[in-house]
Symmetry: C2
Subunit: 224 residues, 2 copies
DNA sequence: CCAAAAGTGTTGTTTATACACCCATGT
DNA sequence: ACATGGGTGTATAAACAACACTTTTGG
């Protein structure tokens, strides 16, 4: 491979990295890939890679995610740009980090070209990570928790149809504390962001639950 | 100038741009420079410039701000990274935008090397701008207004000592509506983020006002 | 008929809003 | 003495938190 792209001044490389959260097995989990190439070969890392010269940033994040993990559509938003000069041992690399959320059912993992494996990890059981990815994850987690309180971001974890108990469980996992069922229901219904499907879900030896759907699944509303 | 920095893959250029707000003449104003070089020569634009190959992003934002406007220390936080492939006509340029706040007294403008002029503009009287800087400003303004409601960010506009009426005036300008004096004082004092200096300010033919200072001027606290 | 989760209202507490008069100074 | 902005409390409304029993199903 010959060095063929030349500039009057030195240019940094630019990458995107994506922190994808889901709720799985009653825990907040996130998606990591195992690196197939140096540096940090064999280590777990966030999915991501170099931005194409004519590629939009979010497009790059989605492409890398698809290539490395097989994941198609999901909620994505820009998180922060990490640019410490020494954060990559190869050369100066500035990384635009994104954070994404999806119900785990939507995310069918298949290890693909760039990564030898992709897997979910509970947030409190992370392996050693490449680069400054721990720092990126920490920021993403703080953002997620903050947004819980003033937006409907948690709805992004839900399947197309869900019960109020399932939604409550998601909030309880994210907030790390039990919530009162009656208050939760009053609150979440007062947001006017979910609606009954009219269907019931029979799900064990007890009363069936009404199911709901998010009114505007693409929008994260700002509330309060 | 010879093209001497070569890479195996094309690299984008990376810049920082800074949106600096202040309160001046009873209005929210922001800092622009007039471009001395193409493209958009002669147009007004946000201060900013190319990131040095070993330079941290925030450091770059501060340096460019100092070079172009003479402004030294101020509150700065990362805003968003703009990377549309066609946002700069010269080459692919990704810009990490920052937003900054300061009392206008701290900002002594002196047009310097990179810019033929620097000036304050009321937010509702902006000239035509270079690049996508209108979009950047719009996002910065939204962020400022949003942060008013859940942080002490507005304190960054204040001089080291200020009266409660001055602080209230800042909130009224930012929110665009008058506030009740008693409720405002109760609220702002209950935050426990400002303290009396013990001094009075005599300021006209009326009762002198107590002055206050911010307890942790470097920190923007999250409230509520 | 028993176990298990679904569903439903009321009360007390805290927080936010609305509102009017006296105070200290300079002229 | 008067004009000007500085300073203060109370009453009402709205939001939030605490709390227990009945319903429907499967086994």
């Amino acid at each position: 491979m010959t060095a063929s792209h030349c500039y009057a001044y030195p240019h940094p490389a630019v990458t995107t990295d994506v922190v994808v959260f889901t709720i799985r097995e009653e825990r907040l989990q996130l998606l990591l890939i195992r690196r197939r190439n140096p540096p940090y070969r064999g280590r777990w890392a966030l999915p991501g890679g170099f931005v194409g010269i004519d590629e939009d940033l979010e497009e790059c994040a989605k492409r890398e995610l698809a290539e490395e993990t097989g994941i198609g559509d999901l909620f994505l938003e820009q998180l922060y740009t990490f640019g410490r000069p020494d954060r990559d041992p190869r050369e100066r690399v500035i990384s635009v980090a994104y954070f994404g959320l999806a119900p785990c059912s939507r995310l069918r993992l298949k290890a693909a070209s760039d990564a030898s494996a992709a897997a979910w990890f509970p947030l409190d059981r992370l392996p050693e990570l490449a680069f400054d990815h721990h720092e990126i994850i920490q920021l993403a987690h703080r953002r997620l928790v903050a947004k819980l309180h003033y937006s409907t971001i948690a709805f992004q974890f839900m399947e197309p149809e869900f019960t109020l108990s399932e939604l409550q469980a998601v909030y309880e996992i994210l907030r790390g504390e039990p919530l009162d069922r009656r208050n939760f229901r009053k609150w979440v219904l007062s947001l006017d962001q979910i609606e009954e499907t009219g269907e019931l879900r029979r799900n064990g030896n007890h009363r069936p639950a009404r199911t709901y759907r998010v009114r505007h699944p693409q929008r994260v509303a700002i509330i309060r």
